[in-house]
């Protein structure tokens, strides 16, 4: 469909070891191919941003990485182990995709302890870990006397994101982390992600509609469109402009297509 010429999608860094490898990954529902990625490698410590319009396949890709859906062909492997063959990847990966990753009938503390205990932490270390988010929580989450299901959408999101950070996972997957958050929290979240990536060498996979947030946080950005990787770039100061131009071109391209259809009628 899109005739946009893009640079080669595979930039290899042989010095780093690949954390996540995606090979010939394809997902089709009936006749519709929602995702088709030939090859994608994500290095350890990379902050990987996934950008695209609605229906571009971002959540599908994450769901495939998390082995929540089955690929039609191809595979995803974490540390050279295919995710649908062994459960070993679960030790390294944590994720917050949507509210189905929250347990509504728990208080936020209980949720954090639950996740923490399964990630080998005890109550005290979880409490210690949560201290740094005091500011982010704004007094509305811990000791609020509310169950997660009764929190506002934004606060639920905070709970989910912080839950995904507990216990030093090596890979953290966040789907649309900036959506539904207030401006201050967005800024705090960006700082948090950068700190985590720098201090602990965590690999982040973040999807977003928001180009400026993504370019600020991520050191590599992949654009998907209709299930295919159309751009794969290392972030530079010009990246934001570049991306904005890409999407603007897409829009005008769409308009042209419509007008040509009209004239041909």
């Amino acid at each position: 469909m899109s005739k946009y010429k893009h640079p080669s999608p595979n930039i290899k860094h042989p010095i780093f070891n690949n954390m996540i490898t995606i090979q010939n990954l394809k997902k089709t529902y009936g006749n519709a191919t929602v995702l088709n990625i030939e090859n994608l490698e994500i290095q350890k410590g990379e902050t990987f941003g996934l950008v695209g319009n609605n229906g571009a396949g971002k959540t599908t890709l994450f769901s495939l990485v998390l082995d929540l859906i089955q690929p039609t062909t191809g595979f995803v492997s974490v540390d050279d182990i295919k995710v649908n063959e062994s459960e070993a990847w679960k030790n390294k990966v944590s994720a917050f995709i949507d509210e189905t990753f929250l347990i509504g009938y728990l208080t936020p503390e209980e949720y954090f302890y639950f996740i923490g205990e399964l990630r080998g932490q005890n109550k005290a270390s979880v409490d210690e870990f949560l201290k740094q988010f005091h500011d982010l929580f704004n007094g509305e989450i811990v000791n609020s006397g509310k169950y997660v299901r009764d929190l506002s959408k934004g606060n639920q999101k905070k709970v989910g994101i912080v839950g995904a950070l507990i216990g030093k996972p090596e890979i953290i997957i966040l789907d649309e982390p900036f959506a539904n958050l207030d401006p201050s929290t967005q800024i705090k979240l960006k700082n948090m992600i950068r700190d985590f990536a720098n201090e602990n060498g965590v690999t982040f996979l973040i999807s977003s509609h928001d180009l400026s947030h993504t370019t600020e946080v991520c050191n590599r950005i992949v654009v998907v469109n209709k299930g295919e990787v159309v751009r794969d770039i290392q972030t530079t100061p010009e990246t934001l402009q570049d991306l904005e131009k890409y999407f603007a071109d897409q829009v005008s391209l769409g308009k042209q297509e419509i007008s040509t259809e009209k004239t041909s009628l």
């Binding site: 998390l66 082995d67 929540l68 859906i69 089955q70 459960e87 679960k90 030790n91 390294k92 990966v93 944590s94 994720a95 995709i97 189905t100 990753f101 929250l102 347990i103 509504g104 009938y105 728990l106 208080t107 503390e109 209980e110 302890y113 639950f114 996740i115 205990e117 399964l118 990630r119 609020s144 006397g145 509310k146 169950y147 299901r149 009764d150």
Partner: protein, 487 residues
């Protein structure tokens, strides 16, 4: 306007996510409804002719006499089962529809549920017979209208008191006291009932009383709902204060302890699971049925009852094991816990409760030790064998459970699956057959021992069976995730 609303209802019924799969269940439900209609109509014939021919009494007087009981039962039943449709009217709030219409729609909608109109079939049939047998037309109609309005007015009472537990408890106490006083003939409630309802028949203008009550309560309920018709008032789901709690000693058992802790919180904090807990407690007393019929006292039947007495929780909770976690199943599938630990935690929870039930069932020893031994053996079988088969059949159960919805227990069991049905054979039939046969040939000791031995065998082989179950769960994983997705 109402026509359009009804169209929406129709669509929501047929386009619900479970429809395609569960059309069969819907058909069963229809059959059930017809069955009950038939029963109610049949009861009317029975009430009329049995009373007249066999007892030589006036059927209308007799029915009037017991109507008060029927009315109270109707009220209690509606309070427990009926769902109030306040939640799904939110989208109408900002549309160009007068609030008056929406409120009335909410009220009228409660009349449309089969629970509301089912009992009318009794009254319609009964009045039909009355007319046929020469009762006055005007009198009969006024009796019918009066009685029907009194029954339908329960819907309003239910609306007014549904979220006021204290009042409900108060009313419950009053009803209990009144029924005791009636039972011991202190207050002749029944003859009051007879006088009241019969008067409506005798003097048709008395029908104005129920009409006035109905209209008045409609107005009151209307105002009540109208006043709270804001998102932060009547329409908001009630919030409870969250308390952080933890059973510390369970933490010693690693991931399994964590999961059990979590499940206990789930059981305590959700409406559906609270219902399950209550239900499984009631199952402990299921064995009391044996005093209603001689047939129930055969060893095979005792075994059957024993399986339910000790395994009520196991059957009701265990069968829907992944379903209860459906709201956050993707989380469960990505946490760094092997499947086995997850299943094992459920297994422990089931068995802890089963042990508890076995101890609780000790009171059956009062009726003879052989009764308790049968139940005890059944309990061991539940622990050793059934706990695993129940979890196994859970793998095929892909019904989403909305934990905090007041579940209509009737008709909700649409988790019908043929495979689950086949698994009933080792669960129920095998122990019953073995127990019955062993008891027949070798006596009760041998029967208890052989069932216990089967339980022990299952217990010893549990790791092997877990492996099979886990394989099933894994192969069903993706379709389960898909089914649990919210639409």
């Amino acid at each position: 306007m109402f026509k359009r609303f009804l169209k929406l209802e129709w669509k929501s019924f047929f386009r619900g996510s479970s429809v395609g799969l569960n059309l069969l269940m819907k058909i069963f439900r229809m059959i059930g409804i017809f069955y009950f209609i038939f029963c109610f109509a049949g009861m009317a014939f029975l009430a009329y002719f049995y009373v007249e021919k066999e007892m030589g009494e006036n059927p209308l007087k007799m029915v009037s006499r017991f109507l008060i009981i029927a009315w109270v039962v109707d009220l209690i039943f509606k309070y427990i089962v009926q769902q109030l449709p306040t939640q799904n009217i939110k989208p109408f709030l900002t549309l160009n529809i007068p609030k008056k219409v929406v409120v009335n729609y909410t009220l009228i909608k409660t009349f449309l549920s089969p629970l509301s109109w089912m009992n009318s079939f009794f009254f319609i049939t009964f009045c039909g017979i009355m007319l046929f047998n020469g009762y006055g037309t005007l009198n009969t109609i006024s009796w019918f209208v009066g009685v029907s309005l009194l029954f339908y007015l329960n819907n309003f009472l239910n609306f007014l008191f549904n979220d006021k537990e204290k009042i409900a408890i108060g009313v419950g106490v009053v009803i209990a006291v009144l029924s005791l006083l009636t039972y011991y003939d202190v207050i002749p409630t029944l003859s009051y009932s007879e006088t009241f309802f019969y008067t409506i028949f005798e003097k048709p203008y008395f029908v104005l009383i129920p009409i006035a009550l109905f209209a008045g309560l409609w107005k009151i309920t209307f105002n009540y709902i109208r006043k709270g018709f804001y998102l932060d008032e009547g329409l908001e789901a009630k919030k409870v204060v969250g308390k952080t709690e933890n059973i510390d000693f369970l933490n010693r058992y690693g991931a399994i302890g964590t999961f059990i802790n979590n499940d206990i919180r789930m059981l305590k904090r959700n409406k559906v699971t609270k219902g399950i807990l209550l239900g499984s407690f009631m199952f402990v007393f299921y064995g009391l049925l044996m005093f209603t019929n001689k047939y129930y006292q055969t060893p095979t039947a005792l075994m059957f009852m024993g399986l339910f007495v000790t395994g009520g929780f196991q059957f009701t909770f265990g069968q829907r094991v992944p379903s209860f976690d459906s709201a956050y199943y993707p989380l469960m599938m990505t946490l760094n816990v092997p499947y086995k630990e997850y299943i094992k935690a459920k297994w422990w929870l089931l068995n802890i409760v089963t042990v508890f039930c076995i101890v609780l069932a000790l009171f059956y020893a009062y009726f003879g030790w052989d009764v308790y031994f049968a139940f005890f053996a059944a309990g061991l079988y539940n622990i050793g064998v059934n706990s695993q088969f129940t979890l196994w059949s859970g793998a095929y159960n892909k019904t989403q459970v909305d934990l905090n919805l007041k579940e209509k227990r009737v008709g909700q069991k649409n988790s019908f699956s043929f495979k689950a049905l086949i698994l009933m054979i080792p669960k129920m039939i095998l122990p019953m057959a073995v127990y019955g046969a062993m008891n027949y040939f070798f006596g009760i000791q041998a029967a208890v021992i052989s069932i216990a031995a089967l339980g022990l065998l299952g217990f010893v082989l549990r790791e092997k069976i877990f492996d099979i179950i886990i394989k099933k769960y894994k192969s069903e994983k993706y379709s389960t995730l898909e089914a649990f997705k919210k639409d």
